[in-house]
Amino acid sequence: MNGESKTVVEPYGVERAVPETEAEFRQEEMLLNLGPSHPSMHGIVRIITKLQGELVLDSEVEIGYLHRAFEKSCEATTWNQALIYTDRLNYVSTCINNVGYCLAVEKLLEIQLPPRGQYIRTMLCEVSRIADHLTCVGAAAMELGAFTVFLYMMIAREYCYELIEDYCGARITTNCSRVGGMPFDLSDGWLDKVGWTVGKVRHILKECDILLTYNRIFVDRTKGIGAISKERALQYGFTGPMLRACGVPYDVRKDHPYLIYHQLDWTVPVGHRGDVLDRYLVRMEEMEQSCRILEQCAGKIPGGPVSCDDKQVVLPDKKDTYGNIEGLMNHFKLIMDGHGIRVPAGEVYFSVEAGNGELGFYVVSAPDENSRDGCNGRPWRVRCRPPCLSFVAAMPEMIKGLMVADVVPTFGSINMIGGELDR
């Protein structure tokens, strides 16, 4: 950029490009990078901005700082072992990734879960979605200075984590479902704890709503900032709350119904300007809808088994394994290396509505050389369609012409999650 200017070598061998020629003094632009370990960049995205004073003239986004080889790792594990890697995709709403992957593999196996299992999966997904939106709105509000809202929402998120932990023992890396079934049944008292949690979350949401929605500073900092039009959003492949904030009512739970979303009544909130304020409002309303879904599920959940009865896929429960020889054989066949779940060759694309948008799993199973029955114990390729990759790709367009201080709320509103972005 200013190649010909003389560099003055200072102590400790640090070269400084000293502006020499008259053109350099006139130069207004400054290259600043909101680098990887910046608090508002969630630690793993680097935006190089060309600034003119406070104005962002142009910017370039660099990602890949949290690339952890998710797809390569999945190819080395068996079908059920790959679940631990799907936890760490969108690590804010982990149950949705697990359920999404399991539904994709079940579509490949063409098996269906009994109603109770589907109800449990729906409830876990909705609790995770509430936790996801709480984290996103809380962090975005904190980056705008509303630290109290962050603390309130973290407490609300603790209640959601307690619910998930009661079910599967872990708060974040839940591993909460298996291919073809669910690991556990609901512990007693879990259902009325759902009611208690929904009440608490609604109370905290009302408080944060009062704190933020009519707050002059919050509205001034977010209204009309980082806006994107409906056409450009579709060009960038937006889905989820971001696309709904632009006015397109596309929600995978309504448009490609899966689990039991079609049997419950809830609505899809849609904004119309597509700026940071609309995204905040859509997310707050979506949390309310998730609470409604949870209440209906807690009321209507049927009895019965939680896993499907196909013995080649689902482990028998413990009393069979130790009780009779068939249970022991089934257990042995599924656990020993080289046996496990045999998925026939084929490719399938299945998508669920994750916290950020349409999380699609393109799962390919191809028989390796020495497989006799044309099936494969390990996934050949697990491709995860990252919903937040489109939002980060559209960042340069959203922040062009804004002030540097507006880059932070825009980035906070797209809810970029590193694990899902870089996989």
Binding site: P39, G64, A69, S73, A139, Y161, I172, T173, G418
Partner: protein
């Protein structure tokens, strides 16, 4: 100040202080250690899922501020403890090393979670198998992600280690620390 009661007594390798010879001034070191252990400013180098548990640990429920170690300083110049939270990929390793070197003395490093301590579930081409191959680490917090209680325990262990180790003071030569498995 007797430490018989605490089961594990983490003592950091002594710094040889060229100026003051081998005299171990306990009274003054204890005072200095006490002052330093209760005013830890942290630089949260947060990358992945452990960041969620870091949020829970520093939010209202499991408050880390009760131990005086919660105030995040987002500039290495003002930070005492570098919290490496989450997976460090090979692309991020040079940046972490730069941030570590730009921290002011005395500095400590807490490796938060399995990914930072030993690569965690990611034994592949993209992940650093433990940050102690790059920078010296003082406290490892195990867990993927560690529960907030484990994080608080890690802070207590760090404070105990600071209290019991010999405090570097009034030295101007570069304090050379070798990473454990360099």
């Amino acid at each position: 100040m007797s430490d018989k009661r605490s089961p594990t007594r983490l003592v950091r390798p002594d710094f040889t202080d060229p100026l003051r010879g081998q005299v171990y001034t306990t009274r003054f070191d204890k005072l200095l250690g006490w002052a330093r252990k209760y005013s830890l400013f942290q630089y949260p180098f947060v990358t992945a899922c452990c960041g969620m548990e870091y949020m829970s640990a520093s939010a209202g429920h499991y408050d880390i501020d009760r131990f005086g170690a919660a105030f995040p300083r987002f500039s290495p110049r003002q930070a005492d403890v570098l919290w490496v939270v989450g997976t460090i990929s090979h692309k991020l390793a040079p940046i972490m090393k730069t941030v570590y070197e730009q921290m002011a003395e005395p500095k400590y490093v807490v490796s938060f979670g399995a990914c930072a301590s030993c690569g965690g579930p990611y034994d592949n081409y993209a992940t650093v198998q433990g940050i102690d191959t790059i920078i010296p680490v003082d406290i490892y917090i195990a867990g993927c992600p560690p529960r907030p209680e484990a994080v608080l325990d890690g802070v207590l262990k760090l404070q105990q280690m600071i209290q019991n180790s010999k405090q570097p003071w009034r030295t101007t030569d570069v304090i050379e620390r070798k990473p454990l498995k360099a």
